[in-house]
Subunit: 419 residues, 2 copies
């Protein structure tokens, strides 16, 4: 079954509101194994809505609409869709009573235009709206299905994930199962060069790469009758990919990011982490804290943005700062070790470098970064050159430093565990 998503609302056309509904409906349909090849947005205009609906039903059997169900004069979805199906709107007396009661209870005046909301296409399946006053509905005729839901996301979502999901499950015999492989250290185009045969040739499961900030995800998606069957299709593809990237580039499965992996892995290995951040400015700790469970793992981070703070908060010696400077492997090592010892953690991570655009010297260019990881077994420092001569270098250098540091911490925790 093919579907299209048609969102109605002038506020969407003008960009006053971001169209999150389309993404939510799309995710739901994808999970149900229903193909979607088009999304449209039209304004509160009956002529254009009619034309879009007719076009959508030429291309697909299922059209999911959001918006245009309210009480105002420009809410015209039900009328337009009913007309396409050759149906009239009729008063749903039971719902009208409910609606009147609703207004009485909240002591609000029920204006005439609200009565519109109780007019429903004849023969439709009414969908209750516990979050608002406009019910949704489903019309079905001659193999074509239209599902109409309210525009406001907080009303649409429960309806979508409740009665609409149940209705669609009853229409489909397949489900989609996905697994994500998390990749660090190789770019999207190199990944594609290595996996192109799988990406192009495999129809079930499919393989798709997604670029994230400083890392990549490889999503393997299978269509089958059950989740178990789906997993059986996915396993061999996963094995094949792991064989092609044997050097630790695939750091995990189904993580949102390196930082979720840190919270998960360090918790599992019973390790704690203390950070000392200069150029990253708190970005590492704040990305770890995004995940509930961070408190089991993160002691804290000394964001020592100034040299004074490196010395006064973290105890980096004035000698080191004078002799080698803040951007040096010596300073990075001292920062990581001191953070670890002061906060009593198993692993210390530090970053120091030049994010730009200013701050470079003749010997130390923008993009020069030192990252150190310290454990009781010793301290490792890596030197990076991250500049690309581009306008967004500052942000990119900071992000890349965070990801590199996170990856080094994952490795350190693994090594520490194996001792």
């Amino acid at each position: 079954m093919n579907a299209e998503i048609l969102c109605v609302g002038t506020e969407l056309l003008l960009g006053d509101v971001v169209n999150t509904n389309a993404a939510e409906v799309a995710k739901e349909l994808a999970a149900l194994g229903i193909n979607v090849y088009h999304h449209e947005v039209v304004g509160d205009n009956p002529k254009r809505l009619k034309e879009s609906l007719e076009l959508s039903f030429k291309r697909a059997d299922l059209v999911i609409l959001t918006g245009g169900l309210g009480p105002t004069y420009d809410d015209l979805t039900k009328e337009t869709v009913a007309a396409y199906f050759g149906k009239e709107l009729v008063m749903d007396e039971e719902y009208l009573k409910l609606l009147k009661g609703f207004f009485e209870k909240s002591k609000r005046k029920m204006t005439d235009n609200n009565i519109k909301q109780a007019m429903m296409p004849e023969d439709c399946l009414v969908l209750e709206n516990p979050m608002g006053t406009a019910p949704g509905c489903i019309l079905e005729k001659d193999g074509k299905i239209a599902i109409m839901m309210p525009g406001p996301p907080r009303e649409m979502l429960p309806m979508l994930q409740g009665p609409v999901r149940e209705f669609l499950k009853s229409k489909s015999d397949c489900i989609l199962t996905s697994r994500v492989l998390n990749v660090y250290g190789i770019g999207e185009s190199s990944i594609e060069a290595e996996l192109k045969d799988i990406m192009v040739n495999y129809k079930n499961p499919t393989l798709a790469p997604y670029a994230k900030t400083g890392e990549c995800q490889l999503r393997i998606t299978a269509r089958a009758k059950t989740e178990e069957e789906g997993m059986r299709l996915i396993e061999p593809v996963k094995k094949e990919i792991l064989q092609r990237f044997p050097n630790g580039e695939i750091y995990g499965e189904n993580y949102e990011s390196l930082f979720e992996a840190i919270v998960d892995c360090l918790c599992e290995n019973n390790h704690t982490l203390a950070c000392a951040e200069s150029l990253t400015g708190g970005l590492i700790s704040s990305r770890i804290v995004d995940y509930p469970g961070a408190s089991k793992v993160l002691m804290g981070s000394a964001v020592v943005y100034s040299n004074e703070a490196k010395n006064k908060l973290l105890g980096v010696s004035e000698d080191t700062l004078k002799k080698f400077g803040a951007v040096s492997k010596e300073c990075a090592a001292e920062m990581a070790e001191n953070a670890r010892k002061i906060m009593g953690a198993d692993i210390g991570l530090s970053t120091t470098g030049i994010a730009g655009p200013s701050g470079a010297t003749d010997k130390k260019p923008v993009g020069l970064v030192y990252i150190a990881v310290s454990t009781e077994k010793g301290t490792a420092v890596e030197q990076l050159h991250l500049a690309r001569g581009r306008k967004d270098d500052r942000e990119m250098i900071r992000n890349a430093s965070c990801c590199k540091g996170a990856f080094m911490v994952l490795k350190a925790s693994k090594q520490l565990k194996s001792f």
Copy 2:
């Protein structure tokens, strides 16, 4: 001139990514006075892209596309649009040289598929992409215009707000001038209630509110023959709005955020800042460090996520932690004061609270947050209740705490200056 927005990308169709590009492009076109009646999303499929493009050009003269410009085999926007205009793709040798230079500089291997990005439709206007490797382009023929931009929002936005805006302005005989008023502490619907008369009735200049993370922007846009004329239209509207919000809610003009305001204002007042962050986890310092110039203002931040770190890194007394707990006004005050003194700053800011979902006690619920600001004149602590009982509370509570803290710092710097 009528326009349509056509976003290309299977990740959009599947709902893996929310289509923020459509809203951004739509806002830009609305500000330029260009009517938009349709948005579409299609996947990385040449046949469907071609059909959508042909349909869009039947209905409109200008089509703005995002996505499908990258190096992988399924990036097909340029080819498809060029074919519609009867143009071939040709190698842009200059750009190819530039692209090779990028890869060499960052010591990454340039795979063959990257070369695709230097193939451009003949006779097109190339749009530089300082944030990525795929340039955009504009094709114009027989009254039809196609503008192609990259899919990733951080690449698309500067191109849209830079050369694309310039190009579209040149098609019109008016220019648009804007000023932004930065607002903190009032919600978008309250702002609308107060300013509805201006928003609905004024056609030139127009007034539009934009919700940002934890704050708002009011954009006043005037259309006129010159920028000076535009400013003359804007001034009275600005004055009117300032009169309606006389209590400091409007903290600045033309800032990207409260954090840019901090870097600017504290620099101007010659004040330095030290932070002590618990629940915000480094988010405050990392948002300040987003702005070049942060090093003039931010000494550092002690991200003391665990109680141990509060005591060992920042010297918060075990007594305070035992008697009042980490989430208390006493702890917040001590954190702010200690950070300020240890790092030798003029202003100390601290945050401590419960972001959730876990961590609440019977006396201390999720969303309870204390924020303290310390100067040599004294310490002020505010208690907040930020929970909304919603799924995104953790992220929202952290963000709201950052913004409140930033706003308090701006006030403190202003007060300190006036002593």
